[in-house]
Symmetry: C2
């Protein structure tokens, strides 16, 4: 498992854009708001657009906006679209040279723990992150996936 800062940044970027609906947001202003690098945010914006969570508009005056309403952007789905290799144990993703692999229960247990983690995230959407105050109640148990589409190139200024 390697849930990285990229997922963290992705959720924050969506929060920022979600808090400024009605206009286009730029990578520069998100970078300033969170004090994180534009290079990271450019990569994340591209991934989120590919996954169908953001729409991007090119050129001068361009930027990004949400491609769906916040309650239809599931946090578990966002993490799955950002993490290329969401696993901890080598033998989940690669052929292994481990001599104990044939009798190993580790991957099954870690998989179960990961499922618990993701099932928890699946109960929340961007709308929960945008809620003005606690207490926080999940949006619901079911989040429908979006249809994926190709993004436009990114405006970065």
């Amino acid at each position: 498992m390697r849930l990285t800062t990229m997922s963290d940044y992705a959720m924050r970027l969506l929060m920022f854009v979600g808090q400024h609906q009605g206009r286009l947001c730029t990578i520069s202003e998100v970078a300033r708001a969170y004090d994180i690098s534009e290079a990271h945010l450019t990569k994340i914006t591209h991934q989120l657009a590919l996954a169908g969570w953001l729409e991007t508009v090119r050129g001068k005056g361009g930027g990004m906006r949400l491609a769906a309403s916040p309650q239809h952007i599931g946090l578990g789905a966002v993490v799955r679209s950002i993490e290329p290799d969401f696993s901890i144990v080598e033998c989940l993703t690669h052929d292994t040279s481990c001599q104990l692999a044939s009798s190993c229960h580790l991957t099954g247990i870690i998989n179960g723990a990961l499922q618990s983690f993701m099932q928890y995230l699946d109960r929340y959407t961007l709308a929960d992150l945008l809620a003005p105050s606690a207490p926080l109640a999940p949006t619901g148990d079911t989040v429908q996936p979006l249809n994926f589409h190709k993004p436009a190139n990114l405006a970065t200024s």
Copy 2:
């Protein structure tokens, strides 16, 4: 959240030592068994000994053994003893420059997901990893079905 390969290696090291109870095991043979570096294993052995999961014997003929019976070595506890900074979001562990921190629900949601992950691990012990074959039932309370990964390529030498 940054559950690293160190936790993976720690659990494998404990598995190896648990499968060779009755004698001392060396870092060299664990390194050969899993094809991972002795440097990593030395660090992990030290951490596991500090945490009370391993006993180490110095000098020629020395090595390591379990410091407790496998059913008393909880997998969640092992991970907690290895991961120095088990968090994903910056503001869980550090002062943050984030301008939205005052109204942010992200840390609470991620914390909940981490708790789900760890609570799942807490249901298992090293004894579960040492069980000879599936089906696997956790040492603790509730039984959940596991999806076991079958490695495609087993090393036999």
